[in-house]
Symmetry: C2
Subunit: 370 residues, 2 copies
């Protein structure tokens, strides 16, 4: 059961409103690179006239950047999706104005903000007048449960979770590419979406950062159970960071609820603090590996199998390869930049580690209490 | 700014509905023992005719247990409060029926469930008909922010957080008693409520387990800031447990958001698993101490100052003292059962450790992002 009515078919324009080259436009970048959906335009007055992959090479697809909603409609847009994930997740007055223009022009509107569009009286009334839909990617199921525990998982299901030293450094991309590479090799694998962008790409999932905090682990377990109905090898998209001053609660709830066998640790080359929290130091990678295994262990004895290094700041592949080699020296683990060089090396490391980590024996039911 | 309109003045009856001696009636027990409010009765058909402190000695106050809402009204009740905190926090059909009876008899109704009474159309209509109020202790502020970081805390404020090896083992009680003892000794201290029972006792606070998970740390920081307006030495009530399969996300968000100087680790004598999760082992105390300090360190270099041992399972004080001595041997830290023997020893340990932990130098503002 998915919480969201995700539209995967209607041609969409993505709104980034001057932020297309910013970290916070990761929703736009992710959907353009990994989504199956027809993205007809990005609406961004600052970059109008250029192509998405020129401005942000990660995007790969040559989606035209346009200045106005009207131009996007002329290119065939039937829906408008907010492609920026701001800290705090609120709808700004400027975006509200653009959404109203889009709705008046008969576009459905989609967003993954904490502000739920459909619960906003003004937007709901405007949508009703225009006869269009409001689709909230981040809406979560009303009736969430507490987790029952890893031992209740279907036998034979293995779980790989991406974790990281910060937000917005590639945890979703790495999970998507590991899944794609595994399926290409014949594995019955499945990507499990835990955030708005992943949901927009996969068409199902729960935005665990929008769940009431008591139910994050329960939502994560439920996602693993849903994934287990689709495959045996699950790549769960991580959220936040264990040592992020704002989002660590989401991270740990997801870690314990998804109860992974194997972790892949994402890190951005050269990063020393979580973005926006310069007072906080990211611990050395070896300490991060140890901390993740220690925090996971009482619930699920997960092992960190590999490091996914984001080398987007390095101009040449040679520089990236040198940085990767240096991390391998430091940690003793396989390392690669997955969006840059592909997921094969890290998938090999994940599979080898899975062979070393014993499966839990499933048990009968037992009551939960809190 | 408190999220909740807590009534501290009208005489209240607490509903426990057959569960008065159960772990989950901790809301009832906490309010009876630590609350300032006039509790005229506990409604519990199973124990009717007895006194609260006879059935649960922890309660201390001789509140009469009665079988019906009508008897509670005869004793002067003007409000009914649900005193059970079930796993999942849902309103049961049986409680709904009793709430309807209470409202029809002109009682206000209060609860700290995840089910918000005021958002339930049936209950809201019944309250309107009866001219009574519905008060939700767990309702949280609509506009929560992300944390700015510990360095933005007012200079001179020190934070003590209770953590634990499980839920419902005394984290709130220990924080309340440390605060009370500190104030008796002349400290300008303050108890900071983070859950429904604490809020009912203190009259303000935020139930961080009902906050959208992205905002748990932000809510915790906001509580510390509110506490800092009331005192210099804050005792923050912990939630969940770092290694609890369901609630660890709440715990870690609260830990990083409140950014404590000192931790007090609560443990229940003899417990080997979190309640209801028998597949999960509680690590040894020494490992728990190390894990809490390790998880806290990158955000706030907190030290565990003492162990709060819950010896409720031990019949005699001598047995309790032997168990306490054994924990001191194992951990090298001061240990005591605070509700049983008072908070003086643990407060001494907290104060000594605070002297050893340097204060953070406050810094100027910086932007946050996620």
């Amino acid at each position: 059961m998915s919480a969201t009515a995700v539209d995967m078919s209607s041609p969409v324009a993505i709104l980034t409103d001057g932020l297309f080259d910013d970290l916070h436009a990761k929703t736009a970048h992710g959907i353009i690179r990994y989504g199956q959906r027809d993205v007809v335009a990005v609406i961004d007055q600052r970059f109008a006239g250029r192509l998405a992959n020129e401005v942000v090479p990660f995007c790969r697809r040559p989606v035209p950047l346009v200045a106005t909603v009207e131009e996007a409609i002329a290119l065939g847009a039937r829906a408008l999706l907010i492609g920026v994930a701001p800290a705090g997740g609120r709808l700004t007055p400027e975006w509200r104005r653009l959404l109203e223009i889009a709705m008046a022009a008969s576009l459905d509107v989609e967003a993954g903000l904490h502000t739920e569009l459909a619960r906003d009286p003004g937007l709901a009334a405007a949508a009703e007048r225009a006869g269009v839909q409001l689709r909230d990617l981040r809406v979560v199921p009303k009736e969430l449960e507490l987790p029952r525990g890893r031992a209740h998982r279907r036998a034979g299901v293995r779980v790989v979770l991406t974790v990281g030293s910060d937000c917005a450094i590639g945890k979703m991309s790495v999970a998507l590419e590991l899944d794609e590479t595994a399926r290409r090799r014949g594995f019955d694998s499945c990507f499990v979406a835990t955030g708005q962008t992943g949901i927009a790409i996969a068409g199902w999932g729960i935005a665990v950062d929008h769940v009431i905090s008591d139910f994050v682990a329960g939502a994560a377990e439920s996602l693993v159970d849903q994934g287990a109905a689709r495959g045996d090898l699950l790549f769960v998209e991580g959220q936040g960071a264990l040592f992020h001053p704002a989002y660590s609660g989401v991270t740990v709830g997801l870690l314990h609820g998804s109860a992974p066998d194997v972790l892949v640790l994402a890190h951005k080359h050269g990063a020393t603090s979580p973005y926006g929290y310069e007072d906080t130091a990211i611990p050395p990678l070896a300490a991060l590996i140890q901390a993740h295994e220690l925090v996971s262990a009482p619930i699920s004895e997960a092992r960190v199998a590999a490091i996914a290094l984001n080398t987007a700041d390095l101009a040449t592949d040679d520089q990236a390869r040198a940085a990767i080699a240096s991390v391998e020296d430091d940690t003793g683990l396989p390392c690669d930049d997955v969006p840059r060089f592909g997921a094969d090396r890290l998938l090999d490391a994940v599979l080898a580690t899975l062979d070393d980590v014993p499966e839990t024996t499933p048990v009968g039911e037992h009551p939960v209490a809190g």
